[in-house]
Symmetry: C2
Subunit: 355 residues, 2 copies
Amino acid sequence: MDKRIKEHAEILCDWSAEVEEDDKVLISANNQAQELVKALYEEIGKRNAMPITVSSNPEAQSLFLEKTEEFKTPSHLKALYEESDVFINIKSSDNLRALNNVASQKLAKHSKSMKPIQELVEDKRWVLTQHPTKNQAQMAQMSYEEYKDFVYDSIILDWEEIYEKQEKLVKKLEEGKEVKIKGPNTDLAMSIKGTVPKNSCGKKNMPSGEVFTAPVFTSVEGKISFDLPIIYQGKEIENTELKFEKGEVVEFDAEKGKDHLDQILEIDEGSNRVGELGIGTNRGIDKFTKNILFDEKIGNTIHLALGRAIEGTIGDENKRNDSAIHVDMIRNMDNSKLLIDGEEILSEGKFFWEK
Amino acid sequence: MDKRIKEHAEILCDWSAEVEEDDKVLISANNQAQELVKALYEEIGKRNAMPITVSSNPEAQSLFLEKTEEFKTPSHLKALYEESDVFINIKSSDNLRALNNVASQKLAKHSKSMKPIQELVEDKRWVLTQHPTKNQAQMAQMSYEEYKDFVYDSIILDWEEIYEKQEKLVKKLEEGKEVKIKGPNTDLAMSIKGTVPKNSCGKKNMPSGEVFTAPVFTSVEGKISFDLPIIYQGKEIENTELKFEKGEVVEFDAEKGKDHLDQILEIDEGSNRVGELGIGTNRGIDKFTKNILFDEKIGNTIHLALGRAIEGTIGDENKRNDSAIHVDMIRNMDNSKLLIDGEEILSEGKFFWEK
């Protein structure tokens, strides 16, 4: 077994999910993740905890969704979730487009029926991770060997050290009032007063390496361009430009997918306003791979999301953007600056703790 | 998809497990069964029932068992079983010897910890089946294509018709007092008075095609030879001969594995006495493939088991053989006869309903 698979399993059990004796562990995995499942079973056994693996076969799911007329919450799955302490969800689909033929209404109905089960996870230990697969390598435009290096370089890191560095940034956001983003084709300002920044350091996402908050959504002013493609519902929007006034998108353009962007902005009241400001810090992730678990953490990027703000980041004084959607848009910061109350947090490709 | 996989799934859902609307269905499957899982999800969706698949990865299980020191009953798995209505267990291991390196004491301890969960299944709808795999084909000494034909020829049958034919045999066993088996090197008699014969017709095993009961174990007299290999704990015993007096094995011989047979007979009080008489009727199974799910149902064979009698077959008047083991021994009946109270039930290679 590739030594890195064992290290990945150790990080998941020790740092992310903190697996302890007698824990009931629920692994969700696809066929292609079997090597990681093996490594996890060994680690879970060492800790005298108890694993079960539920397999998620998207091709089977697609057939099930097509045939089913009415979706109810499956009580056996609910009982399993209720009794589980730790959830390890491994992305490893063998076909990332397996559900493309299912009507989006059906997907939405099914999601709704699963909501009571998803909610059971929130207050427990859970982590979402990726096992490298050939089809994900293909999506990332890499060979499989190159993609494995990419995945493990982003995961096998000193997460405690990352936590501590990011904590410095969290402090600055907590104490700060205004964020500015400046660079080619970009001059954007937003208030972060009273919002609650989060240190995402590999506990719930592996890889992680991100600090994020919900800006005061009515305060966003100015223009910004996104050089990395936006991917939403499998469609791509390239070289997006947005202009905000009082938090609302008042002008927009894109070199590709402008129609799709137009549709997104029209969905609801919140879909043409910002819900998240994220700052990617993971220096192990240096390529855009069309996988949001990685893309939004690329070191030296920032992302804004149109739509819904993330629970816990809004702060008591501010109103929540409760749009039905959340669309991440990523900007490379190579020739740009991010400032908090005038202080350069990210500039010349470096964070303040790297200078 | 091979049309036969869909037919297999239909038979499992309609005839075996009788899947209905709102049923909570639990599938246990290995990686290699994904095509059958897909077909099952489609059938389950059509019936507006709800599937979950728990994956059984024997290689992961082996590592888990090796590392774990103490086994407890996993409460999350128990909760899942409690809430499930239907269990479809698909044999499809990619390595039939994956657990060979685990100490048998550990396996026994683990089995014991899982007993409260296994017991939850007994009173519900459950079926054990086989998805054809290349390694199982290898074990059967066939090409994969040949093995698929073999598996589906034994499964895609008119099970209602088989049920009705077997019911005639059940009647004869219910009304009969004595079974005799006569043939080359064989002259055996046993009482079946008061025992409860069972019609195994694809409800709990797929394939099936077997009628079985627990003979009065103290009544077995005479000698019998078994031309098909006995397989127990992965070891083979060939051309076994047994001589019974008052139900006990008093002489034994085997061309290969005699030592192993000796060990079996010494295990406990019941291990040198009979626990089951089975009569295989499945004309779709014409080869011995080292897979007891198939072998004991070969048309025109009988089998005796040394050891434990099967629940429900003993009858109120008789004592149960409650040995810790159950070892099936199969005899081809080509040149032999099985008689009930003198009537030829199986002779010249034909059952009484085939004449």
